[in-house]
């Protein structure tokens, strides 16, 4: 009897093609897209969700025996780290190269950006006018003393922002920027990006540094108080006259140990296609990788913007330096 069961299980698993994903993303948009992909291709998708860092550690631990085919993260820095750790492999795909702008994928094709988030300034409609705002650097000015809300520097989005500032201005200037921002904070950093918008709406701070994605969450929250917060604030894209607003990508790479490489590539190509890109924007308030092709109403309401074309691998390369500078600046 046991043998029959075993054979049955083996046959079943062999019959259905499948890919295994380690993902940091917990979003409904992904659930929808995974299902759509399975419906279209018959390829089953298995997922383990966890923090990217721990998933990377798990991949390293599993080595060549890892069942994972794809690592999916919410920032380029960790993809870069996975590449350096030697757990990803380069992919050749014309479709991916065509669909994804060069700055949003690895130069050696180890990983590919799939959605974009911009780190913007969110300001109080009551107390700030857009002409008072200009760049991230300007927030270090004394005039913003006690008026800025931003979360802890343990968060990857702040580390990536800092990494881009290091790339643009050098470590020394980046450190003094972080010191001044710390002095200008309305309160010691705490909470998520969302809580920074709350602080602005409550009058505690005038400007928050946060991701566009969280504004979408506030705007569509089931809680009326959240929607109230959204109404009191507005979005400003900084650094439009120089390098552009800092962006980061959610992206994926194929693991070195992948046993279903062909299907995994097919899946990434599917996610980079225009239909999937539309889903990311409308369900999850993320920009598509071709930002100008964005079709989400909410995102469009903030208008087009110029983004920093720094290759996002640099964010990963500068990440450790960024954390050290934060430590030195006393930005908790």
């Amino acid at each position: 009897m046991k043998k029959i069961y075993l054979t049955l299980i083996l046959v079943c698993t062999n019959l259905q093609a499948q890919i295994n994903i380690y993902s940091h993303r917990h979003y409904d948009s992904d659930k929808i897209l995974f299902k759509k992909f399975t419906d279209q291709t018959g390829i089953k998708i298995n997922v383990i969700k966890g923090s990217a860092d721990q998933l990377i550690e798990r991949l390293i631990s599993e080595g060549g025996n890892s069942p994972a085919d794809i690592l999916f993260t919410v920032d380029a820095g960790r993809l870069h780290r996975a590449k350096v750790a030697g757990i990803l492999q380069p992919i050749e795909s014309k479709i991916l190269r065509e669909n994804i702008p060069p700055s949003m994928r690895d130069e050696d094709d180890y990983w590919f950006g799939l959605t974009v988030r911009a780190r913007v300034l969110v300001y109080s409609k009551e107390r700030v006018t857009p002409d008072q705002l200009s760049t991230y650097e300007d927030l270090a000015n004394r005039k913003w003393r006690g008026k800025i809300a931003v979360r802890s520097s343990s968060n990857i989005y702040n580390q990536s922002l800092m990494a881009s500032i290091i790339a643009s201005n050098g470590s020394r200037k980046a450190l003094s920027w972080a010191k001044s921002i710390r002095k200008n904070m309305a309160r010691a950093p705490r909470g998520s990006d969302r809580d920074q918008a709350r602080a602005v709406a409550a009058g505690l701070a005038d400007v928050a540094i946060m991701n566009t994605y969280y504004l979408g969450i506030l705007a569509n929250s089931p809680d009326a108080k959240d929607r109230e917060v959204f109404k009191k604030v507005s979005v400003f894209f900084p650094n439009q006259n120089d390098r552009g607003t800092h962006i980061n990508v959610s992206g994926a790479g194929i693991t070195k140990s992948s046993k279903n490489k062909k299907d995994a590539i097919k899946f990434l190509e599917f996610l980079s296609g225009s239909d999937s890109q539309k889903t990311f924007g409308s369900v999850n308030y993320e920009y598509p990788i071709k930002i100008e092709a964005n079709q989400s109403e909410l995102l469009n309401s903030w208008g087009p913007f110029k983004y920093d074309k720094l290759n996002l691998s640099v964010l990963g390369a500068n990440n450790a330096e960024a954390v050290k500078l934060f430590d030195k600046a006393g930005w908790e």
Binding site: I48, S154, P222
Partner: protein
Amino acid sequence: MDISALKSQKPLQILRQELLFKLNGWTILSLIVGLIIFFPIGEVLLSINSQSENWSHLKETVLLSYLLNTIILVVGTAFFSLIFGVLPAWIISNYQFKFRKILEWILVLPLAIPTYISAYAYFDVLELFNPLLIWVRNNINNDLMQFINNVLVYMVTILVMSSVLYPYIYLLARSAFVNQGAKLRDAASTLGYGEKSIFWKIALPMARPALIAGVSLVVMETLNDYGAVKHFGVPTFTSGIFRTWLGMGDLVGALQLSAVLIIFIFALLLIEKQIRSRSKYHDTLHSKPNSKKMVFGKKGSLAAIICCLIPLILGFVVPVIRLISWAWISRNKAGTIISMEMVSNSLLLSLISSVSIVSIAVLLAFTARYFKSSIINLSNRLATLGYSIPGAVIAIGILLIVAQINAWLNIALTGSLFLLIFAFIVRYLTVAWQPINAAIETNCDSLNHASKTLGSSAYTSLTSVNLPLIKSTLISAGLLVFIDVVKELPLTLILRPFNFETLSTATFDLSSQAQIIESSLPALCMIGIVLIPLGYLNYRLENIK
């Protein structure tokens, strides 16, 4: 007993004695099991030898503030947990008043709520103070406002943590007070002691071992917390470990920080043991548990009820009402968010873990006590360290060990339920081992001696003497482990198999994508599940006394 034996003999002699007379199937098996459980922790400790490139950076910049924040948080949480736990325990075990019976029961309810969920439920409580802060900034100055803000952050974090952790102290203090007995009280009052002095000079000092045990549980839970401190922005040692590991990509540095933390905890435990071993706490009067209770008047009753209600409201009523109101808003999503599979995964995982952990705890405790083996006693101490180490650090240790096995056997052991359950054993063994070890010590030690003289085998002693005598402890220990595993997050998150969701991972998923309101649905389910064994456990405890 083993420690004093160690002191009086030369190590070599002990070793010879151990090898000659105590080497048998039981001790060998226990030693192997104990060491395997200790491996992941040992791996973390080993890292203290290697030098992280960032260590001097950490020392120069953040180490001191991690240490200070951690100490403030630990001391504050221990202090408020003591107040929240001891006062109701004292009132309930000595006085009669309205609603006493029900209060006695429901005071343990906050145990059902993990600290990270309570922190979510209170996520915006600090916003209530915004008007005050803004007023201070506009009318006095920014520095004072920053100061007030910082004080508020610590106060709220400490109150949120202690209001869910106090039941550890409450439970132990209650049984200590009850067992102190009526005769002692009578003697004290004849000697002219008032109520106050009986409490401060007799009852409290006598309950010290129980209180210290409770406080050390609270301290470990506080050190293990990552969610609440992250949310309220208090950079503690635990958050520093993650920052160094994830932010700087420096695993060695993170492991070194963890090793410092482990040594810190080890020192605390040792000090506690030293303090305790110097004094003896026997009730030589052999008096019966205190069943006669003084009756409170109306005013007294009211004060007593308020005393008991404050921690309960903070730790249970407010968070649960908050969660229920959120669940109500998002009720139409319940079908898509919660699945039967999630619930059964949580239940099954906790059930299997409880049974395996209790079985291993029995094996280890019995072998050490029955054969009076100091080697097994030592390996047991090492194997039960896991509870004091943050779950995510244990996960690193396990991944490091498993990496070697994976490469060696050419498999991927991660992602198997087996490994996940092993991880729980590493983390929660002590939860079952402590009470089982104590139960064998008090109930079975002398009987084991007798049965040995009568020539029974160890197996017969275990099955026909020990197990029947400690049956109720086994059940309580199993329930305690069950409650812990249902609430567990970091280990499940990183070591789980594909497509495997439990109620706690679902709660985390939703809240980490900023859907705190929706996350109330699995959170409430989890609390509901924990309430069942918790209620039963409490019922048992009351019947025992």
